[in-house]
C-alpha cells in the first residue's frame, strides 16, 4: 500500500521505537501534524523550537534513547540551531526533522525558506535533504543509526513539503548500509596490552573520566577499573554522574572550577588514563602545564578526539566498556603484579588525601543571607537519590557540579560543551517526559531562566512535575565574577536590575511559585515544592556577590588555582 511522505516519516519513527516527539507546527510541517493524531506518538508542544530541541536532548540524556524534535522551515528551523549545537558539542543522540519549502522553490528565497542543511552542517553529525519520497525510509533508518552509534550526535533531516505529500510504497529497511561509516568498537588488543604495562608501571595513576563514560553507561566498569588498580578518579562536568562522587576514590571535578585535590592529582600524576574525555580547554587550563609528568593513555570512540589538544602516549580507539573490560582482563592475568599495585601506589593516595584535607570543597555558611551552595546541598538532602538534575549555564551550574555530589548515571543534565544558557528548563521538561516517575529539578540562575522561561507553559499544559530552583542574585553572576576578579569590578551590563517577581511569573502560567528570602526558609520551600503536585518554581534570593571557587584563571595552569575570593 502506498503511503505519503509524512505517513512514511511517522511509520518510520514507530519502527525506530519512538513514542515521544517534541515540536512546534508550521506551514511546511502541516501535513505531518495532520497525520500525527493517527499514530501512537506523544507530541509535546513546546513554546519555542529551541526548547523542543533542548527537550529532546534532555529526554535523550536522561533515558539514553534518541531524542526527536520537529520544526517548520525558515525561522522554525533556525530556532533549532542552538539546540542542535548544544547536542553536538555534548554528543547527544538526536534526530531533528525540519520542514522545508517545496523542492521546486528551494533556492528561490521562498517564504520561510532557510538553507538549514547548510546552516547546521558543522553542528550535526550528519544531515539530509530529502529530494525523493522513495529515499525517505532509508534516510530515517540511517539517521537514527548514525545518531545513536559510534560517538553519538544530532542528525538533521530536512523534508520538503512536496516530499511529505508525494507517496510511494512503504518498506522500512531492515539494515543500514553505509560504506563510509563504520565506528571502531573493539579496542586493539596490542594497545590494550601496552596500556596494562603502563598501568602496572605507574606509581601515581589518575583516571580522568569524561562524557563518553556517561554516554556509554560505563559506570560499573569504571568502578571495577578504579578499584582494581586503586587509582583516584577525576571527572569532567560531562563525566560527573558516571562515577559516583561518594566513592572513596572520587576526587570530583577537575579543571577551571574543579577541586584543588583533583587538579593537584592530575598535575602530579605519572599516568593519566583519559576515558571518553576530550581535553577541553576548561579542563586543561594552560595546555603546556597540563599533567606535565604524566604519560597519557587516551581511550575514546572518536579518533579525532585523540591528539587534538594534547600529546598522547597511547591512543586506544574503541567503545569504552569494551576497552576497559579488555584492560581489566589483561591486568587480572598479571596476577601478583596487579595485586601488588595498591601497595605500590599507597603513598600516592596518601598524598592525594593530604591535598583533600588541606583544601576540601567548602564554602562560608551564613545565617543571614542564603548561600547558593547551601540551597544545592539542601536540594540533594531532600530529594531521592536518583533525582535528575538539569542546570542552565553559569555560577549555579558550577555550584551544582561542586556541591550536588552526583552518584547515579544520567542524573546530571547540563550543557557542558556549548555552555547554553536556557538549556536547563526545556531539558528538565524532556527528561520528565522520558522519566515520568523520577523527580526532575532544574537548578537555574535568574539570567539563564529568562532565556527559555516560556516553557513554564509547557510544564503546566502537560502537568509535568518539574521543580525549578532559581538561585537569584540579580546578576549575570559568572560574568560578574570575572569582572570582579579580572576587570576591576567594572560590572558592565551584568546587573539584572529589574526585580522580576518570579513567583508571580510562575502563577501567571498556572504553576506554583515559592520564595525564600532567608536561610531559615530554604528547607521549608524545598520541602513544600517537593510535596506540591505539578510544576513548582522556587526562587531563592541568594548572596548577590558569592563566587564560584576555587577557580583557575584563564591562561593559568590548573594547579595555579585561586582558592577563595
Amino acid at each position: 500500500m502506498k503511503k505519503t511522505g509524512s505517513q512514511i516519516l511517522l511509520e518510520s519513527l514507530l519502527q525506530e521505537g519512538v513514542d515521544t516527539v517534541f515540536g512546534y507546527p508550521g506551514g511546511t510541517v502541516i501535513n505531518i501534524y495532520n497525520d500525527l493524531p493517527d499514530y501512537p506518538i506523544k507530541h509535546i508542544l513546546t513554546r519555542h523550537e529551541q526548547a523542543a530541541v533542548h527537550a529532546a536532548d534532555g529526554y535523550a540524556r536522561a533515558t539514553g534513547r534518541v531524542g526527536v524534535a520537529i520544526a517548520t522551515s525558515g525561522p522554525g528551523a533556525t530556532n533549532t540551531v542552538t539546540g542542535i549545537a548544544t547536542a553536538y558539542m555534548d554528543s547527544i543522540p538526536m534526530v531533528v526533522i525540519t520542514g522545508q519549502v517545496p523542492t521546486p522553490l528551494i533556492g528561490n528565497d521562498a517564504f520561510q525558506e532557510a538553507d538549514i542543511v547548510g546552516i547546521t552542517r558543522s553542528i550535526t553529525k550528519h544531515s539530509y535533504l530529502v529530494k525523493d519520497v522513495k529515499d525517505l525510509a532509508r534516510i530515517i533508518k540511517q539517521a537514527f543509526y548514525i545518531a545513536r552509534t559510534g560517538r553519538p550526535g544530532p542528525v538533521l533531516i530536512d523534508l520538503p513539503k512536496d516530499v511529505q505529500i508525494a507517496s510511494t510504497k512503504f518498506v522500512y529497511p531492515e539494515s543500514v548500509e553505509l560504506r563510509g561509516y563504520k565506528p571502531t568498537y573493539s579496542g586493539n588488543v596490542r594497545q590494550v596490552e601496552k596500556a596494562a604495562k603502563m598501568i602496572l608501571a605507574a606509581r601515581r595513576p589518575v583516571l580522568y573520566v569524561g562524557g563518553g563514560a556517561s554516554a556509554s553507561d560505563a559506570g560499573q566498569d569504571l568502578i571495577q577499573f578504579a578499584e582494581l588498580i586503586q587509582a583516584p578518579v577525576v571527572t569532567t562536568l560531562m563525566g560527573m554522574a558516571a562515577f559516583p562522587s561518594s566513592h572513596p576514590l572520587s576526587l570530583g571535578m577537575l579543571g577551571m572550577h574543579g577541586t584543588y585535590y583533583a587538579n593537584m592529582a592530575v598535575t602530579n600524576s605519572d599516568l593519566l588514563v583519559a576515558i571518553g574525555a576530550r581535553f577541553d580547554d576548561r579542563v586543561t587550563g594552560r595546555i603546556a602545564a597540563f599533567a606535565p609528568k604524566a604519560k597519557i593513555i587516551h581511550i575514546d570512540i572518536d579518533p579525532t578526539s585523540i591528539k587534538k589538544n594534547v600529546r598522547v602516549d597511547l591512543p586506544i580507539v574503541g567503545e569504552l566498556r569494551d576497552v576497559i573490560e579488555k584492560i581489566l582482563c589483561k591486568l587480572r592475568e598479571e596476577g601478583e603484579s596487579v595485586e601488588a599495585l595498591p601497595d605500590l601506589t599507597a603513598a600516592w593516595r596518601s598524598q592525594v588525601a593530604a591535598w583533600r584535607a588541606q583544601y576540601p570543597m567548602t564554602y562560608k555558611p551564613s545565617n543571614s543571607v542564603i548561600k547558593p551552595q547551601y540551597v544545592i546541598e539542601k536540594i540533594r538532602e531532600l530529594t531521592a537519590e536518583d533525582a535528575i538534575i538539569a542546570t542552565e549555564v553559569g555560577q549555579h551550574q558550577m555550584w551544582t557540579a561542586q556541591f550536588f555530589n552526583f552518584s547515579h548515571p544520567r542524573t546530571f543534565l547540563t550543557s557542558g560543551g556549548l555552555g547554553t544558557m536556557g538549556f536547563g528548563l526545556p531539558a528538565a521538561l524532556g527528561a520528565q517526559v522520558g522519566c515520568p516517575d523520577r523527580q526532575v529539578i532544574d537548578i537555574s540562575g535568574d539570567g539563564s531562566f529568562q532565556m527559555n522561561s516560556q516553557e513554564l507553559a509547557t510544564l503546566v499544559q502537560y502537568q509535568l512535575p518539574v521543580k525549578i530552583a532559581i538561585l537569584n542574585n540579580n546578576f549575570l553572576g559568572m560574568v560578574r565574577q570575572w569582572q570582579q576578579l579580572f576587570f576591576d569590578k567594572r560590572y558592565s551590563q551584568t546587573p539584572l536590575e529589574l526585580p522580576i517577581d518570579f513567583v508571580k511569573l510562575a502563577e501567571a502560567y498556572g504553576a506554583t511559585g515559592l520564595r525564600a528570602n532567608h536561610p531559615d526558609e530554604v528547607e521549608d520551600v524545598i520541602r513544600k515544592a517537593l510535596a506540591t503536585p505539578g510544576p513548582v518554581l522556587m526562587e531563592f534570593k541568594i548572596d548577590r556577590e558569592e563566587n564560584v571557587m576555587p577557580m583557575v584563571p584563564a591562561g593559568a595552569a590548573i594547579d595555579e588555582m585561586v582558592l577563595a575570593s
Partner: protein, 168 residues
Amino acid sequence: MVSHVAKHTISVMVENEFGVLTRVAGLFSGRGFNIESLSVAPTLDDSISRMTIVTSGDDRILEQITKQLNKLIDTIKVIDFTDTEYVERELALIKVLATDDTRAEILRIVDIFRGNVVDVTARSYTMEITGAPGKIQAVVELLKPIGIQELVRSGPVVLGRGAKGWVG
C-alpha cells in the same frame, strides 16, 4: 614537539552525493585547515567521487585532517600520500598572446615541455601542458615575459606507484 609544516597530498573517496563537496570544504574552513588545491570527479564507480586535495600543515594538523575527513559519514576512504611513492600530474591550459616575434619561441617552449597547441588565432596560442606541478610552474615562468593572457590549472591529481590500487 617539533612542528614541521609541509605540503601534503590527500585522496578522498566520497559518496557522489548532494552536498559532499561543501562538507569537505566546510571541514577545512571550519577548522582552519588550508586547501591549496582541490580537484574532484567521479571514479569508475559513478556512485563514488575522488577528490585530490593539496593541503599544508605540521604532522599534528595533518593527522587531524585525515581523521576529520574519515569522520565524515560520506567519506569512504582517505589516502595520505605523504611518505609514499606516487605519480602526480596536473593539467594547465595557457593562453599566450603571440606576435610575429614570439610565435616561434612559444612553439619551441610548448615543444620542449611536450605540450600541445589546442587553439590558435592570429594573435594567440592556447596550449595544454600536463606534468608535475613543478613542470607547469616552469612553463608558466618561461611564458610570463612573453605575455600570458589567461591561465587555468586543474590542481594536481595523484595515484600511488606500483600495482596496488584502491578499488571501491
